[in-house]
Amino acid sequence: MSEKKNHYSGFGLFKHALSFHEHWQRVWRNPQPKPFYDVVIIGGGGHGLATAYYLAKVHGITNVAVVEKGYLGGGNTARNTTIVRSNYLWDEAAHLFEHSLKLWEGLSQDLNYNLMFSQRGVLNLGHTLQDMRNIERRVNANRLNGIDGEVLDTAAVQTLVPLLDCSPNARYPVLGASWQPRAGTARHDAVAWGFARAADKLGIDLIQQSEVTGIRVSNGRVQGVETKNGFIGAAKVGCVAAGNSGEIAKMVNMTLPIESHPLQAMVSEPLKPCLDTVVMSNHVHGYISQSDKGDMVIGAGIDSYLGYGQRGSFPVVEHTIAAIIEMFPFLSRVRLNRHWGGIVDICPDACPIISPTVIDGLYFNCGWGTGGFKATPGSGHVFADTIANDRPHPLAQPFSLDRFVSGYLIDEHGAAGVAH
């Protein structure tokens, strides 16, 4: 059982300052794995850690291990552009992402960890008449589903974002935008660490530097996972490995309808506060926000080739920056400070896979592609429910692997906002 954790609070911060912050308790344990768990989660990123937390918190299942090949949250959770929103087109996707957004609201309190969740709104710009028709359609679909959204004209966009080039003489003039006020950003590392700390506190073992090399199956039922450090028995195994999901699926002779691509992101040098919302443009193609440190956080489309290298090609960076400068000419002389890439598991319909498999006790949660971060709590919550009850959560049901047999794909390329 884990030791009693210090509850984070303003008073605690003051108290620790008196001893020069030298006596903070470790945020989670580093235990040796037990021989057997009720559930093993493969993948210690945001989604895997959230799954473990909700298994314990909602279902009382605490005999759980999260097995991570590197360090917690070191994959895509560490590499995204931090945007959180739920303005998806189709009912199925809208409900899943809105479920997640509702969990974000209050999550810092729930986890007793400052996630820096900032509901500063998200704008999706329209630069053509067809863009504006798509925007009208999506906002109306959102509102019919009880999700906040408004259509703004150029003047309203300019008021919200003074430094956005809204002049009619721009190469791609801004005709308007969709606006989701409850959307925003969150600190990506914090959500991994927040879920990790809370899960550890509930007795869940976090096993790092322990790559899974095989899954043992017997009589059509999962028995456990082989790792670099030995075998760990499990009654149920949930795979949440994002770009490496295909490698895990191979261990049980499964293929998946996903392809792993590089997705690059970058930050500028810190600037004084000049952008207090999130701006995304499908047409010009780029998205940008400003972190609390002052850096402009920028991203755009995937590299088109398959890639596990956590890096991509320079032409994508050039096109991304061209789009950003088209929207924000004042940034043309600002320097980029840092640039990196992740491995995104892309599905043919830009929607995730949350599914049991033909093997009893084996479940997959993957295919989130370019839009996983915003779904972190929602994904963990419904996947935990799916594992605990051995059937898809109602919100997860449309996202089973079956849809690639039935043909009932849910096309969210537009809402994904990231060129595929």
């Binding site: 490698e247 293929t255 998946l256 392809e259 290298g309 320079f314 690639f404 043909g407």
Partner: protein, 98 residues
Amino acid sequence: MLNIYCPYCEEYREEEEFTYAGEAHIVRPPDPECVSDEEWGRYLFHRNNIKGNHREMWFHATGCRLFFNVIRNTVSYDIEQVYKLTDTPPEIREDQHK
């Protein structure tokens, strides 16, 4: 930036001249009316998504505008071999890094 050897133009050209065209050697079921929904779904959507040496197609969009095959390592991004669509697919050599 990848530098890709086009086997038709017979020179290395920059990545920006090409379009990635997906996994190579995917065979369309000869009689679509006779395959199960599972098989058809697998053909349409499932991919091998290789972590390592991957056979893929590229299209020389701003050059000769022909398709060709490439064996590229999806971890190091090194291009091991290039071959035309009509060539017998070469074996992936032992000395090529995984």
